[in-house]
């Protein structure tokens, strides 16, 4: 029997039991659809993170003081005071691949305006910080180098802060807000950035000159972090090397000793978030593939029923000259077609599902070709694997007793 005949035969016998065929396919459809949806949503999430990171500044470099061990106790990240004004100056003046540098001193205070107050973190930064972090201003201006030099009591605030404090709809520019006891003039409002990947509100923020924070609030002379931007994304590794060299020589670290600071480029952040996302995607796909196995068992079950039901037909076919292999191929083709058609429908539904969800979450819609190809192969394999035993059972029937079967 040739392939055309096998195919026709399988299609016509599947059509004879439309409802049963549909229900059997449903298992495969659900299995494949969920695998496809999970994988493409996982990839969409990865892509989403990537685009968000590049909106944060893909050439951004973070420099943090290293963890300090005090008597064997790890004091946590950024616990040392190794970064200071001197480092900032060297990074500004002695580098080739570093475009901009801004320190950051973080504190948090209750903000008061009129009868409203709002808890908020205040970051002391330099005038270049907005460029490095890809923030832009909605209105007003950023403070200048001059403001930094003279510890000016000015600040730039985020949209959430505006909403919380200026409830009467007044223009925040030029208004004076109090940070604890210190009054500061609002000179700029940031354009909203929304939540980041971790769900943090990036607009609940206040920027002030770092000198102001150091001298007027915290009374310190070190930085919590230094942000820098490489001249381009490709050069961020070079910039990191450069920074390492400068900081080591500034801090007098001998060859062979560990750095007393830590440098993170976005590349590392991206790859670590990507690997988490990948793991989650794999996990979801693994869970989804369980339903695929259940679907496959459904096929096997129905194929067994079909074979028993059609014992007489099998006997007749053998009597008129079908070889055992013909019978086996007949039922195998049926189960393969069953799972392949189910698979195609499943891929279709999976794409619709992931399209819907990604629209809902405002994620990019990703079609994972790899997932589609793999699902297709899995379907074919499912058809063969779960169709094999029923087909073999059919092929091994004795024609005489099959003909007599009632």
């Amino acid at each position: 029997m040739n392939i055309t005949n096998l195919f026709k035969l399988a299609i016509s016998s599947l059509f004879r039991n439309k409802m049963r065929t549909l229900l059997t396919m449903l298992g495969i459809i659900i299995g494949i659809a969920s695998v496809i949806a999970m994988v493409s949503l996982g990839q969409a999430s990865t892509k989403n993170v990537q685009s968000e990171l590049s909106s944060m500044g893909s050439n951004m470099i973070m420099i943090m003081p290293a963890r300090q061990m005090r008597g064997g106790v790890n004091m946590g990240n950024a616990s040392s005071k190794s970064l200071d004004e001197n480092d900032l100056k060297s990074l500004k003046n002695n580098t080739v691949y570093v475009a901009k540098v801004s320190p950051m001193v973080a504190t948090s205070k209750q903000l008061v305006y009129g009868s409203n107050n709002h808890p908020c973190s205040i970051n002391g930064v330099s005038e270049d910080y907005l460029d490095i972090r890809k923030y832009s201003l909605k209105s007003g201006i950023m403070f200048s180098e001059e403001d930094v030099k003279r510890y000016a009591k000015v600040c730039v605030i985020g949209q959430t802060v505006v909403n919380e404090l200026f409830t009467n709809g007044e223009d925040p520019i030029g208004q004076v807000v109090r940070f604890g006891s210190i009054p500061m003039t609002v000179i700029g409002v940031l354009a909203p950035k929304g939540q980041n990947q971790m769900g943090e509100d990036q607009d609940n923020i206040v920027f002030a000159p770092y000198t102001t924070i150091q001298k007027r609030f915290s009374g310190i002379n070190y930085f919590n972090m230094i942000f820098a931007s490489a001249t381009s994304e490709e050069e961020s590794e070079m910039a990191a090397t450069e920074i390492t060299y400068i900081l080591r020589s500034n801090h007098g670290i001998k060859t062979g000793s560990n750095d007393d600071f830590e440098i993170r480029t976005q590349e590392e952040l991206v790859s670590s978030i990507n690997s988490i996302n990948k793991m989650l995607t794999m996990l979801l796909a693994a869970i989804a593939s369980i339903s695929l196995i259940v679907g496959g068992i459904g096929i096997m079950n129905i194929m067994y029923v079909t074979v028993t039901e059609r014992t007489k037909e099998i006997g007749l076919r053998m009597a008129i000259g079908a070889r055992n292999s013909d019978i086996k191929m007949q039922f195998l083709t049926e189960s393969i077609i069953l799972s392949l058609i189910g698979g195609i429908i499943g891929i279709f539904f999976g794409l619709i599902l992931s399209y819907g969800v990604s629209k809902l979450l405002n994620w990019p819609f990703v079609i994972s070709q790899k997932a589609i190809v793999i699902s297709f192969l899995v379907c074919a394999f499912t058809g063969i694997f779960f169709g094999w035993y029923p087909a073999k059972k059919a092929a091994n029937m004795d024609p005489i007793s099959a003909l007599r079967y009632e």
Partner: protein, 247 residues
Amino acid sequence: MSNEILKIEKLERVFRVGSEDVHALRGVSFTVQSGEFVSIMGTSGSGKSTLLNILGCLDTPSSGEYIIDGVSVKSLSKNELSELRNRKIGFVFQNYNLLARTTALENVELPLIYNKDVPAKERRDRAVAALRLVGLEERMDHTPNQLSGGQQQRVAIARALVNDPVIILADEATGNLDTKTSYEIMSLFQDLHGQGKTIAFVTHEPDIANFTTRKICLRDGQIIEDKPIVPLSAIKALEEISKMPTE
């Protein structure tokens, strides 16, 4: 043109049931010449079904020789037996064994699907020709449930003819039919016999056997009678029952 189609010699078939050996056939020998219309008679348990299975290459003898159209069956593999059934034998069963929800034409085409040498176009032509031969050309698009018992058996006979077999094996082919329809089917068989087909007809009804040209009677796995007879005409028999008053 009188050559040997079938030749069986000292055919034995032993089944093992539990710890006991059951001898279904005990040394059966006969030959069938081309163009014969043989009836094989016997009560149930006489071994006629076993004999038919062996003649149909569905079963192999425990000992003895079976030669069909010059081929010794004894040494053939399963696949070779399948091919032999496909090319040389046409089966007609008591319960027709047509595929449900499949048209008469497709049912008749079935044996040719398993014959690689027959292309799709020729398959259809031959199936139509076979249906014409049994007088069902008009109904080739009907499915079995749209056909009467007699018509279904005609489709089955067309299916047995389509591969141009050397012998047609009929197993109680009239067993499910009323007398009139039985006679119609027998008349069809007589027509086919008239056209030179070789037919072996297994039955337990003596009046059906009377339409054949040779009677072989089996009892307890042995031939007790094997004689040529002058066949009755099925058409005449049909005329007679049509004269009888209907109740």
